[in-house]
């Protein structure tokens, strides 16, 4: 028995939604990073599924690019967090808000 492609698409949509929601409601910066990763991987799953459904290799190739970009993003993001952490020793977004208006 094979699982229809639509299920993967729905799963990806749910993951994307969880990621987006998490980013909006969680306040810990590291968890917010994870939520971004979740969203990117939901997009990857969608790409792979469509690639399979359309019988086209292009979608799978695109996933590699997205993975590389995600890795590069995390490197920069963690670097920024570390540089803030040195100064403040907090990773909670609400504590990092000196600018308002």
């Amino acid at each position: 028995m094979s699982i229809p492609g639509e299920w993967y698409l729905i799963l990806a949509a749910i993951l994307f939604g969880i990621g987006a929601l998490g980013l909006l409601i969680r306040r810990n910066v590291l968890i917010m990073f994870m939520c971004v990763e979740l969203m990117l991987n939901a997009a990857n799953l969608t790409l792979v599924t469509f690639s399979r459904m359309l019988n086209d290799i292009g979608g799978q190739a695109a996933v590699f690019f997205v993975l590389v970009v995600a890795a590069a993003e995390v490197v920069v993001g963690l670097g920024i967090v570390v540089s803030i952490f040195r100064r403040r020793s907090t990773a909670v977004a609400d504590d990092i808000s000196s600018m308002k208006g």
């Binding site: 994307f16 910066v29 939901a42 997009a43 790409l47 086209d56 670097g79 600018m99």
Partner: protein, 531 residues
């Protein structure tokens, strides 16, 4: 057998190096500076590094002009398996980005010296991020657009954070990073859905697909298109996806803010225009209402919140949101006239904003502290050239005659009226008047003599906005008067940054009086985009 298989299966795409020459030059220059900095004991001297960056950007500019020549002869060509396109549009954007890099590196020079930060990082990251913006404009494939967007953005995240002594810098970088990551993820998901609906990520093939078939899953296609627009709207700071803008603009080091405001907007709008008009041109009826809504919200919110700001960098952030609304006016029209006006506006805005942030860099002093509007009191007397440049650039942003700002605003407004969206044009005019107040207020403050007994609030702009705040502001202002005067002596005006600012102001005036060349360049770029 294996080699035979390899040769039959993997076909290397042919590469037209001229098409990617500006990108190669920008990245090559960045790598060269990085290598030399690492090898020279004690690092590269500041002025040498700046000179190298300016040379690199000039080389990219010249190579774009060579491309322009080729485009005039041969028309648009695609290369690297149709993933990259070289046409008037991509060349136009490459010219705009290279010009911004030249100005930003001149302005950054003094900032880095003042803050005592090694200059190589700033210059390298600026060059790389500029390469991303140029690539965004010449991408003909959604995946390449995504990659270019990330090259642009990741370098910008670091640039925003790169002053370790300012807490706001790190905070701004974090906000920019998280919201930027969010928008990238939304954008990729949009690409994935578009891929599912059309079976390709190549823009040309999307056009063919949409021309030949009625989409089997229109919902999928529209969702993909909508998500991509959201991703771009984040990058160009259009309301309601603007909420990172004020904080990031305020927190980032001033020269970086100017660079980011210019280059990220050029890249974002370039890709947005190409995707909407080139790939989804047939679906205009679907995306025009979205752009319409974004434009209205950006125009009004940008102008209204701009007026109540006291921090000049925040004010310019809302100003950039307002400008995004104006450019969207041209995009919404989706005609030759509209796109041409949007391109002209984009170029004019980019130069103006780099220039204004150049002035802000010089005025705000050590540690970027004096960004309050009161610091600009009597700037024209204190430093005539700097003050004059600020006045020119502010009036240009307001759309005054004899500056590029007038033609930019007129162009998008007439384009909107000509396609019948006069309510939008009307809203734009109202927002121009409101934002004009804010520009004029800053202009008058900097023109006013130092220590004149009047103050900002007499201009009546803030009246009724928030009375208690306004009172507090007035008292603060009087107390600040003396220290401001004392600091006057050392508004660190140095020749290099002043050259950058003066170039920006000169550009704004020259192409405001003789708009012909820039307009015809924008026209040619538009023709090659719309075919």
């Amino acid at each position: 057998m294996i080699t035979e298989l390899a040769t039959t299966m993997i076909k290397m795409p042919s590469i037209d190096y001229l098409a990617i020459l500006p990108v190669l030059i920008l990245i090559g220059g960045a790598v060269l500076i990085m290598a030399i900095t690492a090898m020279v004991p004690g690092g590269l001297r500041r002025d040498v590094a700046t000179a190298m960056t300016v040379t690199t950007a000039l080389a990219a500019l010249i190579s774009s002009l060579v491309e322009w020549h080729r485009v005039l002869v041969q028309g648009a060509t695609t290369t690297i398996a149709h993933a990259i396109v070289m046409d008037g549009f991509s060349v136009f954007m490459a010219i705009a980005v290279s010009s911004c890099v030249i100005l930003a590196s001149l302005i950054g020079h003094d900032y880095l010296k003042r803050e005592d930060i090694s200059s190589a990082e700033y210059l390298i990251l600026a060059l790389i991020s500029a390469a991303g913006a140029v690539l965004m404009a010449s991408a003909n494939d959604l995946v390449v657009i995504f990659l270019a967007l990330e090259i642009l953005s990741i370098a910008l995240y670091v640039l925003v954070a790169f002053n370790p002594r300012r807490a706001e810098s790190g905070e701004a970088a974090l906000k920019y990073f998280i919201l930027g990551g969010f928008s990238s993820a939304v954008f990729v998901y949009g690409i994935a859905l578009t891929y599912g609906a059309t079976g390709t990520t190549n823009l040309t093939q999307i056009v063919d697909f949409l021309g030949q078939n009625t989409a089997q899953h229109p919902g999928l296609l529209y969702a993909g298109l909508g998500l991509m627009i959201v991703g771009f709207a984040f990058k160009v700071a259009a309301v309601p996806f603007h909420f990172w803008t004020p904080d990031v603009y305020q927190g980032a080091p001033s020269p970086v803010t100017g660079f980011m405001a210019a280059v990220a907007k050029i890249g974002g709008f370039a890709a947005l225009l190409r995707v909407l008009l080139s790939a989804f041109g047939t679906q205009a009826a679907t995306w025009q209402p979205i752009i319409y809504a974004l434009a209205v919200a950006s125009l009004l919110l940008g102008a209204l919140l701009m007026v109540v700001q006291r921090d000049v960098k925040r004010m310019m952030a809302y100003s950039s949101i307002n400008h995004a609304g104006f450019i969207l006016l041209g995009v919404e029209a989706a005609t030759t006239r509209g796109v041409q006006a949007a391109l002209y506006y984009l170029f004019a805005y980019a130069i103006m904003t780099v220039g204004v942030f150049g002035v802000i860099t010089l005025v705000s002093g050590n540690g970027d502290r004096d960004t309050d509007i009161a610091s600009y009191r009597g700037l024209l007397r204190r430093s005539p050239l700097l003050g004059a440049c600020l006045v020119v650039l502010l009036l240009a942003q307001a759309g005054a005659p004899f500056t590029t700002g007038l033609f930019a605003k007129l162009g998008v407004l007439s384009a909107a009226v000509s396609v019948g969206s006069w309510p939008l044009a009307l809203i734009a005019m109202v927002s121009a008047v409101i934002s004009g107040f804010a520009y004029l207020r800053l202009t008058l403050i900097s023109v006013r003599p130092v220590g004149a007994p009047t103050d900002v609030d007499e201009l009546g702009v803030e009246t009724g906005v928030s009375a208690p705040m306004h009172h507090l502001g007035a008292t603060l202002m009087l107390e600040e008067e003396l220290p401001t005067e004392v600091e006057i002596a050392h508004v660190g005006v140095s020749p290099v940054a002043l050259t950058g600012v003066t170039l920006a102001a000169a550009f704004t005036i020259i192409f405001g009086i003789v708009p012909g060349p820039l307009l015809s360049l924008a026209h040619a770029a538009t023709m090659s985009l719309l075919g």
